[in-house]
């Protein structure tokens, strides 16, 4: 298991990247009133057929050729099972994939979100050709960053430019602080 939910998020986003997505949307929604934490990862990658989705929580199902075991999704399934939640995966070939992990927010087995700033920063900077939309909601407070908006203004300057990297990190840090989630 991963010690932080943000590492599961990084891992799941890697699935989207391997599915050749050029847009990945990551939403974390903490509803403290109803005590529900929802993670949604949506991509426009190549998707999976129904048969494959049915088997996806089986660790011995993977598209990899480098090894025969895939633990990314089983890890998340384990968390949602432990935390009185559920894992819903909606996918269609050619249409992309939506993964929704729902957990009881205050559950003792719910991993801490952890260093989500580094995860989102890493995803954006290491994959400058992919667009990311990251949304973090804590009840009525919300932070979001959309790299498509940044790219529109930055134009020829890539997101992995050193100056841009720095500003991205500051944006993430100050944005999460504003919604009361300064985790590092």
């Amino acid at each position: 298991m991963m010690p932080e939910l943000s590492l599961n998020i990084l891992d799941l986003a890697e699935n989207s990247i391997r599915a050749e997505a050029d847009f990945v949307e990551i939403t974390l929604d903490e509803n403290t009133k109803d005590d529900i934490l929802t993670l949604v990862i949506r991509d426009n990658g190549k998707g999976m057929d129904g048969e494959f989705v049915k088997q996806i929580t089986n660790p011995f199902i993977t598209t990899r050729t480098t090894r025969k075991v895939g633990l990314g999704i089983p890890f998340v399934k384990q968390i949602t099972d432990l935390c009185e939640g559920e894992l819903v995966i909606d996918s269609e070939p050619g249409q992309g994939t939506e993964l929704k992990a729902i957990m009881k927010n205050s559950h003792i087995d719910r991993p801490p979100v952890g260093d989500i700033v580094s995860v989102i920063h890493t995803l954006i900077v290491l994959n400058p050709h992919i667009d990311f939309l990251f949304i973090y909601k804590v009840d009525e407070n919300c932070y979001s960053i959309d790299t498509r908006e940044w790219k529109e203004i930055l134009d020829v300057v890539p997101l992995n430019d050193m100056n841009v990297q720095k500003t991205l990190k500051e944006d993430l840090l100050s944005g999460l602080k504003k919604i009361g989630r300064s985790l590092i």
Binding site: L10, L71, T122, L126, I153, L154, N160, M162, T167
Partner: protein, 121 residues
Amino acid sequence: MTTLDELRKLKEKALDDLKTREGSASAKITVGMGTCGIAAGAREVTTAFMEEIEKRNLKDVIVAQSGCMGYCEQEPLVEVEKDGQKIVYKKVTAEGAKKIVAEHVINGNIVGDMVFATDEK
């Protein structure tokens, strides 16, 4: 949150920097980011590389990522491509990342005790 105006200024500054820089990257660092790599600490290693590169102002070094390379037990694996040569380092830590930047990326000396594989025949 960063305002549009701040982003425009950022673009100007980055463009100025780009002008003073020449040619292609001097080194490319690729971190394995499969489930195995992440579980073994690839995120911390990536962050360490990015911080070290920023601290030393190495504007022509690229950090990239790859999936699982098939040697999960050796993760985090990091490939450094420099001067046409590729070296794969194994079990890289944040400290190891700093060492790789200082010794290999900047000075061109391969960090011998961390090498997993090279592309030399």
